[in-house]
Structure formats: C-alpha cells, structure tokens
C-alpha cells in the first residue's frame, strides 16, 4: 500500500541511526502520543508546510556519533536502492545482517518526535542522528 505520493522520495531516503535499549519502566507511565498509524491513503503537508507523514526505519547501530562517523554511515549504501525505494509499512530490509523494519507514521505535530517513536516500541532512545 502506498501511504504517500507527495513525499515518497523524502520518506524513502530517510535513514535513522539509533542505539536502543529496552526499558520497561519508561512505558509504565502515561506518555504523550504524537505518532499514529496512517489511516488515509494520502496526506498533504499541513497549512504551515510541514510534512506530517513519514517512514521511519528501525535504528542502524552507530559506533560513536562524531560528525565523520555519521557522514560515513549516512553516505554508505546500507541496503539496495536505499535512496530510491518507496517502502511500505512493515517492509523489512537487511542491514549488516540485521532485519530492520519500516514504520509508517503520521505525526500530530510539525515534527517527528523520535523519543515518542522509541517509547512506542518499548525502547529507550539513547543516541540518534537523522538523515534525509
């Protein structure tokens, strides 16, 4: 299923690098929810021009977060056709032997709150960077 038309390119080139740890405590409390599963086939940017529908890939582990490390990771082809593929929710890709999943999300805000994303997966976000 295609969730978007307008921003397919941007979404397909999204790359998320994270280190995650499971932390049950943090989801034991009521946390803000700003990300939801898309319920419509299309979504246009809001009145202010913010894109509110995104694909997020499971985290790719990064050894360090210096600018040079990030540059290398972002520019590396982590999986086939990573800059052109239009993913689907739930699609799996293999990155360095790990099966990573694409997640389609709508955000209520102008931004994609990755802390909320990590918490929704019952994981704690420790480090991240984000590339388009």
């Amino acid at each position: 299923m295609r969730f978007i038309k307008h921003i397919a390119f941007i979404a397909a080139t999204t790359l998320l690098l994270q280190l995650l740890q499971i932390n049950k405590d943090i989801v034991a409390q009521t946390a803000p929810v700003t990300l939801t599963k898309p319920a419509t086939p299309e979504k246009v940017p809001n009145d202010d021009g913010f894109i509110q529908r995104w694909f997020i890939l499971d985290p790719i582990t990064a050894n360090g977060l210096t600018d040079s490390v990030v540059q290398i990771l972002v520019k590396k082809e982590q999986f086939l056709n990573q800059l052109t593929v239009v993913p689907h929710d739930g699609d799996l890709v293999n990155v360095g032997g790990a099966e990573l999943r694409w997640h389609a999300v709508d955000t209520l805000n102008y931004n994609v709150n990755l802390f909320h994303f990590a918490r929704a997966q019952e994981k704690r976000l420790l480090m991240f960077c984000f590339g388009l």
Binding site: I10, I26, Q29, T30, A31, P32, P45, D48, G49, F50, I51, W54, L65, T66, D67, V70, Q71, V74, T107, Y110, N111, V112, N113, L114, F115, L125, L126, M127, F128, C129, F130, G131, L132
Partner: protein, 530 residues
Amino acid sequence: MVIAKVYSSPTIRRMLELLFSNITGFMKKNFSATIFMPLLFIFVHNSSAFALEGQIGIHDPSTIIFCDGKFYTYGTGGTSLVSDDGWTWRRGDPLPRRGLAPDVIHIGDKYLLYIAANSGPTKADINLLINKTLDSNSPAYKWEEGGVVASSDGVEDCNAIDPGIFLDPNTKRLWLTYGSYFGYTRLVELDPKTGKRLNDNAKPRNIAINSEASTMIYHDGWYYLLVTHGSCCRGADSGYNIRVGRSKKVTGPFRDNMGVDMIQGGGKLFAGSSGRVIGPGHFGLFDLGNGVQRFSLHYEADLDRGGGSVLDIRPLLWRDGWLVAGENLREGAYQIESLRTGTSLELAVEGFPVGGRPVRRGPPPGVSNTTPAPANNVIPPTAAGGIFAGIGKPIPSQDVAEVSTKWPTGNIDVRMSNYMLQAQQKWKIEPVGNAGGYLGAPYFKITIAGTDRTLTATTGGELVALPEFTGSPEQLWRFDQLADGSWRIMPKAIPNSNGPLVLSAVGSSFATLAKFDPLSEKQRWLINMP
C-alpha cells in the same frame, strides 16, 4: 542533507536528557529563510576586547539583581558572584541548594530565587528559596524553603529545569518559564505575594520547544521570550546561542522575525559566538532606567580565559521592535560625533588640513594652462583633472606630533566642529586600570590620540582638555550604549556637583555637561572609527 546534533553535559542526568532530545522534521515551505543571518547594528569595531574583572567564572547565571548597594548573580551548582560596581566581581556565598540554573527576582520585601534539580532523566523539580536580603553579612540573611513550584515526571515532554521568572509590568502577574532541550518550554503562573504556584491544578502552557534558559521580558507592547538554542557544556565545542520570539500576549504564541512559532522551532538569533567568546547563553535583563538596558549572559568558552565559562554584561539595544545585542566599548581611536548635529568633538585649536594646505593653481579640467610647474603640495597644472586632481600620490594621516606643536601648552577648550580627519578631532578611548567601573564596563580616559591631552569635566559642568591625565574622577568617563546604538558619555564625578551630568551638545559648535534627557538627541553620541 544530513541533520545531526550531538549534545553533552557535565552530568549524566543532563546528558541523558539531551540525548533524549527530539529531531525535527522541519520542512517549512520557506526553508531558505531559516538560514537568514540578521545584520547587527554596530557603530564600533574593536581593537581589543574587555572581559569583566575579577572572579567571573560561572555557568547558567541568573538575572543580575541589585541589593543593598551590591550586584548579585547565581549559577548552576549554587555558585554566586557579587560585585560592588558591576565591573569587578568576586565569589559570594553559595546557595543552600546546589541545583541547576537559578533565577531570582525582587518583589516587595522578598527576594524569590528559583532553582531546579533533576532526580532522574527529565524528572525534575523547581524549588523556591526566599530571603529578605542577598547580603550574607546582614542579620536578616536567611534562605527559607518555599517548596516546589513546577516539576516534570520523567515521561512527559518537558524537563523542569532552567527557571526564568517574569513579573508582568502591566498586570503585575508573576510568571515562570522553564524547560530544557528535552521537549517543551513551559509557562505557569505564580502568586506574586508568595512566589508559589498560583494554581497547582492549572495545566502548564507549552510556549517553545528544544530550548533552554528561557526567560521573558516586556518592551513597548510586546512580550519577548528569550531562550538558548544549541549545545552546552562542551567548552569551545558548545553551540549555545540566544534566540528570541515575541507575542502580544504573555501566553504566546511567540513568533520570530520570520513568523515561525517558537513551539515549532522558531527563534530569531539575538547573540551568537563572536570574537574570542563561544556559546552565549542564559539571557538576563538589567534595566538601568532612562532607556538604558543591559543584559547578562555567560559564554561557554572565553578563549582568553582558558576556555572557561564566564559571565558577561553587555548593552541591550532595540531595532525595529527586536532586541539587538550591543557590544561594550573597546579601546581605540575614535571620532565622537553628536547624533543630533553631526558635528564632532574637538580641541579648540587652529585646524590644519590633512596633507598641508595645497596651493591650487591652474584652470578647471579641460582648460589649457601654461603656468610654471608648482612646488610640493601644489596641484600640477597639467595633471588630468586640473585643480581637482590631487597631488598624484597617497597622503598620510595627520601626524599629531607635528601639528600639536602649534597647540597651546596649557588647558584647551573643547568644542564641536565639522569632522575633517584632523588630529585634534581623534580621541583615544581606553580603560583605566584599578579605577573601578560600572555595570559591565570599566571607566575610560579620553585623550587626543597620540597625546596626553585629556578630556576633563570642570566645576560648573563644562569641558576642558588638560595637558595630562591625573586619574581624578573628573577624567574618568562612563560609556552607556543606548537603545538606538548611540552612546551616553558621563564623567565619574564633577567637581562641586552632586547630580550626574552627561556630555551634551549645545547647538552645532559647543559641548557641555547637562542632565540626561532620554528623549533628547543632545546627549547621544556616535563613536565612529576615524
């Protein structure tokens, strides 16, 4: 495009908090405008910079506050600094709580100090401390606990640290902003009588995001929300910079100069790294009255002080409804020009043209001439351009040592005149060591560049240039940059005079000392590079 941010801090708590920060999908239609760099309105270029004197090491300083003849500020870790004149600082007594980024305000007979502490990642409380005086030598000096006024539970989109306290001058309602890079900056109302939360059940209002060190000020019909963006606590690698948005209502929305709401990442740059200092943060207003304002801040790294985090105090200017960060006056040779008349301060001596007096011979351009060849400094009659052609080589600046031999040896009157780049019009302005200062700056002496001829206030509030600098108070000058960027210039003291008087233009040709009128241009001066 890659967006990558790395945050760190000296404590694990703060590090975790920062690591939990959001990454925004900021794809505004007018994205190109986000790289807009505002131009600063500056009259002065530096030759050498000054930092405050004494012990000025501090991080996250509070708003500077005046109590019983002394200035105080408080920082993270419960540190405090105190100063008798606002220029030379020393360590003060620590607070009973050693938390994060305090802020303080004086209301009625009480000083209300708010200071935060993390008890877990993004789990924090802001506590109130109350005292009747900030002078630890006073018998009345005693900090009392006022309880928690705001908090975050470790899960919600906020970290309740970095309190900023604001008393609305219109409504007299008391407000507290707080928050850090994790989630939202929030606003709650406090009781101005007690300093405590006005309504515990009232939901905090989100007013900004991804910001620290928030505080609010009011100016000319607008509420301004000052925050600090960027990373802290990494010395010269800290990206701290002060941003601002404004609103007609204290509750927002606060928008920047491009109309972007601060809750969507907006914020007009107010102060960034420059010169030898990196990572300005934690704005605090100090209003001196009569339209003279200063702001306090810290730099994450002062390269001249080993990269340490230090306090600074700078002039606050206004332009087109926005704050502009002024620069303290720096040592140099300047033209002192009246904003009102456009004429400049000078010694009342016979002026001598730069390059000497040319003897212009010959006709206007295009007219043939057979006049004999001229002597030095005489326009060659056959040069292209005729009498307007110059001498055909660069003319050096006027040598004060040469022209000053013609000046009287004793006292010389001071007047104003059309600026002609002449030696008697160029003033050396330099700080005087061990002469004290005022809020944010030292006292200066003003001499004709290359001489000891010193601008001096006289009995009766007039001006004269004495042959020597003696260091007396009437030869020490204070420079206050005003909201429009011009300067107010006043002597430290005037013989047989009680009230402060400032340099004032009289017509186009004379200057005197007079009472400051904030609505007049007579006492506004431009300090220009000659």
